[in-house]
């Protein structure tokens, strides 16, 4: 009896090891790159595709990650700090030694859509889970465009990942659990605009990579698609219809906000500032409107603006209001205005500010404590730097200010605690 049990356990272990080895060596990996992609593109085809590729690469925001600050274009080197170590983006210029100069069309497709590069498995910091849904034509166009760039002789920086995450092949497990083989974003019964919007949102602009929360495996949680996630202590807000409406957007305003980075709801900051800077400002109005229509779940954009109603102010305790007013008149009103109207090209309004309407106060509190650098926006618009007030205000003063601002202009419960503020210092 015991012998049988031991044999069964041994068999289970052997099968388990075999399955794990099978996963590890990629036996269960399914490429979504069709066999005919092995066929190389002709020089004429490459030339013809390159121009459109420039646009696709912009919409997919390739440059922002594949170019280090003050680094050579497309030469990689941008660090991504993860809980498992630091990953550096790679050189994707057509340099034969350091870049993708020797990559075939199929190798490029597999890197972008399967997450398997010529040098081994990629880490999902490269959003191949989203790019997987890109069309063959679009990936070809990006390939043609990149191969037409200037080769950059810049060596790739070695990643600094801890064991076992430094074993690239181990990503086969992640891929098995997190990569969908459903590669089309098209949903029949919806308008071309809605469908284009879904393609732009999910495949090209890979919005879900930040705005969809991740599970314990760091995979996108499809049940909470685009409902907002914390990234390094900053909230990438809910951008579903409910979330955008909560922030005060209507479809038309949201589309122009993605283009200009500035609206009555505030100015893009943090990583979204970079998205506007490198990507969305160059996207066509049609694509941005399609994205907006999709996010608001509309077949077409409405003709008339339909701004959501202002939130109802919530009363705060007198003590909170007194403390907050003192701080606001002392340190905030000089720029944001007593009525919170802001100054064009200087400072954003607060009375209509999206950050005050979010359920989570982290973004507002961080901004009060640490400020925002000066930012240049498309069309010569700019915002002056917001000073950091960490040294001028106590945790209590920040909590009071935050509660009062959120309750008065954002309609949010005054639930920010001193500890909430303290954690962000």
């Amino acid at each position: 009896m015991l012998r049988k049990l031991l044999l069964a356990i041994l068999a289970a272990v052997v099968i388990g090891v075999l399955v794990a080895a099978g996963i590890f060596f990629g036996m269960f990996e399914k490429s979504v790159v069709a066999a005919d992609i092995e066929q190389q593109l002709s020089a004429d085809q490459m030339k013809a595709l390159a121009q459109r590729g420039a646009y696709v690469a912009v919409a997919a925001d390739c440059y922002a990650c594949h170019t280090a600050r003050d680094g050579a274009p497309w030469a990689g080197g941008m660090p991504f700090v993860t809980p498992f170590g630091t990953i550096y983006s790679t050189n994707i210029s057509p340099d034969k030694e350091n870049g993708i100069g020797n990559w075939t069309r199929a190798e490029f497709h597999r890197a972008v859509r399967d997450g398997v590069g010529k040098h081994g498995h990629l880490y999902p910091a490269m959003p191949y889970a989203s790019y997987r849904k890109m069309t063959t034509d679009d990936v070809d166009a990006v390939y043609a465009y990149l191969m037409n760039r200037e080769p950059m002789k810049v060596a790739n920086r070695a990643n600094d990942m801890s064991f076992p995450f430094n074993i690239r092949q181990g990503m086969t497990f992640w891929n098995l659990l997190n990569l969908s083989n459903k590669t089309t974003t098209e949903v029949s019964g919806h308008s071309p605009m809605w469908n284009r919007g879904r393609y732009v949102t999910d495949a090209l602009a890979h919005c879900g990579e930040c705005h969809t929360p991740r599970n314990f495996m760091m995979g996108m949680e499809s049940s909470r698609y685009l409902q907002g996630a914390m990234l390094d202590g900053v909230l990438a807000p809910d951008i579903t219809k409910a979330g955008l409406t909560q922030m005060g957007f209507d479809p038309a305003v949201f589309a122009t906000f993605m283009k200009s980075g500035i609206s009555a709801q505030g100015a893009m900051t943090n990583q979204m500032f970079e998205v506007v800077h490198f990507s969305s400002q160059y996207m066509t109005s049609e694509d941005l409107q399609a994205m907006s229509a999709y996010l608001f779940d509309l077949e077409n954009l409405p003709q008339k603006p339909e701004l959501p109603p202002k939130p109802e102010p919530i009363a705060v305790p007198e003590q909170t209001a007194t403390s907050a007013r003192e701080t606001y008149n002392g340190l905030c009103a000089g720029c944001h205005g007593v009525q919170g109207m802001g100054i064009p090209n200087v400072v954003v309004p607060l009375a209509t500010n999206a950050s005050l309407r979010l359920k989570d106060a982290a973004n507002l509190n961080r901004t009060i404590l640490h400020g925002i650098p000066a930012q240049r926006f498309p069309g010569l618009a700019r915002m002056q730097p917001m000073p950091a007030f960490a040294a001028n205000l106590t945790d209590q003063q920040v909590a009071d200010l935050s509660n009062w601002l959120r309750a008065t202009w954002g309609g949010q419960q005054p639930n920010v605690t001193v500890q909430d503020v303290q954690r962000l210092r």
Partner: protein, 181 residues
């Protein structure tokens, strides 16, 4: 429309002021100009960028801090000790200038300014820097960068900054105790 006022008391250039009624939302600069006739702190950008409007605030521990008056409300200074450019020089009994402050003297000697609009801000900024170095002396090779970091935010449109920079550097180097031996 009524303007809501509140009592304001502070120490301004070593003199106790108030309590006086000051509009709740008035900026410090307007208070200095309109209530105290201290027009030295300049209105430049009105957005907290040019730093022509700064004043020295003496903190409880005696250390000095620079604050912009165009974007900070007058009531924020309640109970604080403030020094404007008018309070930098030593005055005689009749209010005549007996001695300029070391920073002011250095600016004069180096012909640091032309139109002078930004000068009150530079005097304030350099005074706060000297106070900081007195508390935390720096290495000789850090002097230039420290001055740049401290005064970079001050905007001047006519001197090209070089003479301001040289004046502050000379003063830092010749004032004992600011640079580690």
């Amino acid at each position: 429309m009524t303007i809501v006022t509140r009592k304001l008391s502070l120490t301004l250039n070593d003199k106790a002021i108030g309590p006086i009624d000051v509009p709740e939302t008035m900026m410090m600069q307007d208070f200095l100009h309109e209530y105290e006739n201290l027009t030295g702190s300049r209105m430049g950008c009105g957005q907290g960028i040019c730093h022509a409007c700064t004043v020295v605030v003496e903190k409880d521990d005696g250390s000095l801090e620079e604050m912009r008056t165009c974007i900070v409300g007058a009531h924020w200074f309640e109970g604080r000790k403030v020094r404007t450019v008018e309070g930098q020089a030593k005055l005689g009994t009749d209010g005549e200038i007996v001695a300029l402050s070391p920073v002011q003297q250095a600016f004069i000697e180096h012909f640091a300014f032309q139109c002078g609009y930004c000068t009150p801000g530079f005097v304030t900024g350099a005074t706060v820097l000297l106070d900081k170095l007195k508390r935390e002396p720096i290495e000789r090779d850090a002097v230039e960068q420290t001055i740049t970091d401290a005064l970079d935010r001050h905007i001047c449109r006519c001197t090209g900054y070089v003479r301001y920079f040289e004046a502050v550097r000379d003063l830092v180097l010749k004032t004992p105790g600011l640079v580690k031996a």
